[in-house]
């Protein structure tokens, strides 16, 4: 196993000891192509864990396994002590019913590289959709909360705009607000700034930084090394479907131990 144990970083907001996400020996293949080849990792509550690595290293797939958008082939993933996608009874795994998978996903927010806002709904309608349809909130409550979330991401004036009328950075911030409206305990970010113009990246990262400071548990797949170093508590470097190096964010970025990590960081810096 190439993973190393996660050192405790002192003073940073991610030091609660309860694990939020536990990933144990996860294997996954698309057809015959192996994507994850034995990944283990623990994310504690309040921790901001960044996944870095070259494309095709399996980091996005790992993230998508955490909310069961992808099924894992072997191993275990649990979120807040609950196995993802399966029930375990008498040491046998039972596939979860759709309804229970959906219930599990309510507490796990996800932000996508390509935003995936609903184009036929305005920014506000995008945000209130799930609170209305999934949580059964009343429209007044959902709208009031949605406006708060829009304000948090700095877009109060864009409530009635359709996604096509927003810039990429604005769309991604609406997407973050949409995920937050479900009051998740864990947020997954899948390369949230990779599809943005360079000058729009900052706005999105600022929102994510604020979220991290508020104590949200976050797993962030990113190519923004500055963000990983400054906001991340831990960084895991993935390559070829395994975690090559995993540790304190500043340490991994500033003084990578593994030769492969050093080579990667030298290129992206």
């Amino acid at each position: 196993m190439t993973t190393i144990s996660v050192p405790q970083s002192d003073g940073s907001p991610g030091t609660a000891d309860r694990p939020a996400v536990e990933i144990r020996d996860v294997y996954k293949a698309f057809g015959r192509v192996p994507v994850l080849q034995g990944v283990s990792m623990t994310v504690r509550e309040g921790e901001v864990a960044c996944l870095i690595g070259p494309s095709g290293s399996g980091k996005s797939t790992l993230l998508r396994c955490v909310n069961h958008l992808e099924k894992i082939g072997a191993g275990r993933i649990s979120v807040h002590g609950q196995l993802v996608g399966y029930h375990e009874k008498n040491q046998r795994l039972h596939e979860m019913h759709d309804r229970d998978v959906a219930k599990q996903r309510r507490t796990i927010g996800m932000v996508f590289q390509r935003f995936n806002l609903f184009p036929h709904k305005t920014a506000l309608e995008n945000i209130i959709e799930a609170p209305l349809q999934v949580l059964g909130k009343s429209k007044d409550v959902a709208v009031a909360e949605a406006r708060e979330h829009l304000e948090k991401v700095g877009l109060s004036d864009k409530a009635d705009n359709y996604p096509t009328q927003l810039s990429g950075g604005q769309q991604q911030r609406v997407a973050i607000a949409r995920a937050l409206a479900m009051q998740p305990k864990l947020m997954l970010f899948d390369e949230p700034t990779s599809a943005l113009d360079p000058e729009l990246v900052g706005d999105v990262l600022a929102v994510m930084r604020g979220l991290a400071e508020s104590g949200m548990t976050m797993i962030v797949v990113t190519h923004e090394m500055g963000f990983a170093r400054d906001v991340g508590d831990t960084v895991a470097f993935m390559d070829g479907g395994v975690i090559v190096e995993h540790g304190d964010a500043r340490q991994v970025i500033a003084e990578p131990q593994h030769a492969r990590t050093q080579a990667f960081l030298a290129k992206v810096r």
Binding site: R105, R106, I108, N116, T122, T164, M182
Partner: protein, 332 residues
């Protein structure tokens, strides 16, 4: 800079900050296009010939057309044609959505059932299906029973009084249409980006809700134009029902022809009615498309009325507001 050139910064695209004055607008001599004039002249000749024929060919019998266009038998038949079209399309659309969802479902039983249905109903001529439904009594006998399969039956209906020529036509046209609509709906559903489903799923929405709230409304943009096409096509295909004795527009015209020994005027009457309703349907389609275009483009396409207003405005603007700015030199 803007102080020196008062026209800059309003709507003058030429006045960049580092440009002391904008160049004069281009006034070029347009390219000569003699081909346009020649083709227009040829077309005009054909149009004149056509109208000449319409006006002076007695065989059209325009006075008969005027007389019979709103004849009560014809109007009744028009109503039957519309009923056939509406009922068949309702069956077609509802059945098509159902079949498309079944076809795309992960359940192998329902997806293959949908495939077989489409295979059968697309694979046989609709006229044969019409005749088949009309002779259904020969297949199932004089009574249709409803009850537990292979078990007792609770409800017995007389086949020939239940499946009249009209219901046979509605069933045949509707069930056949469902097969075509299912492919249209399926294309629409497949056109929606998978990321939409993933985003909705990650918010905790369940499959049926994702389909109804997220995927289907977006698929509508792709589904509407061919559905309009199908509806217009159905309006005319309903004329096949005349074969099994449904008194719809074509059948009524035929009967009138046999009564009065005048063919052309009654075909003109029928054609005018068909044309009228296809026009109405096309206009309806335009507005439905506009409704589902919400959010898909930055601006909704204008209604014909808005188009007219805008054209009017843009002519005026060109007429007096375009004074090329910067023709006077600004000091630099």
């Amino acid at each position: 800079m803007t102080e020196k050139n008062p026209a800059a910064g309003t709507d003058d695209v030429f006045a960049a900050p580092d440009m002391p004055f904008a160049p004069a607008a281009i006034r070029a001599v347009p390219v000569r296009r003699p081909g346009r004039w020649i083709s227009a002249a040829i077309l005009l000749v054909f149009v004149l010939m056509f109208f000449n024929m319409l006006a002076f060919n007695k065989n059209f019998g325009w006075d008969l057309v005027r007389q019979w266009l709103f004849w009560h038998t014809i109007v009744q038949a028009v109503v039957v044609t519309l009923e056939l079209t509406v009922y068949a399309m309702v069956i077609g659309i509802v059945g098509g959505v159902l079949l498309a969802v079944m076809r795309l479902s992960s359940n192998p039983v329902s997806s293959s059932a949908a495939w077989v249905y489409t295979w059968f109903f697309r694979g046989t001529p609709v006229l044969v299906q019409l005749l088949f439904w009309n002779n259904i009594a020969a297949l199932v006998g004089q009574q249709i029973g409803f009850g537990i399969p292979f078990g007792p039956q609770f409800l017995h209906l007389n086949t020939n009084s239940t499946i009249t020529a009209f219901t046979a036509a509605v069933l045949a046209l509707g069930l056949n249409e469902a097969a075509y609509m299912s492919e249209i709906v399926r294309a629409g559903l497949l056109s929606v980006d998978e990321g939409q489903t993933e985003a909705a799923a990650s918010l905790g929405m369940r499959r049926a809700k994702i389909m109804r709230r997220i995927v289907l409304p977006q698929a509508m943009r792709v589904i509407i134009p061919p559905t309009g096409n199908e509806t217009i096509s159905m309006l005319k295909t309903s004329s096949l029902a005349s074969v099994i004795g449904v008194v719809e527009l074509t059948d009524a015209s035929e009967s009138a022809i046999h009564l009065y020994f005048k063919a052309i005027p009654f075909y003109v009457v029928a054609s005018l009615w068909y044309l009228f309703f296809t026009t109405v349907l096309s206009i309806g389609q335009y507005y439905i498309e506009r409704h589902y275009a919400r959010g898909s483009s930055r601006n909704l396409p204008p209604t014909p009325f808005q188009k007219l207003m805008r054209m009017n405005l843009s002519f005026r603007r060109r007429a007096y507001t375009y004074a090329p700015a910067g023709t006077e030199k600004g000091p630099s």
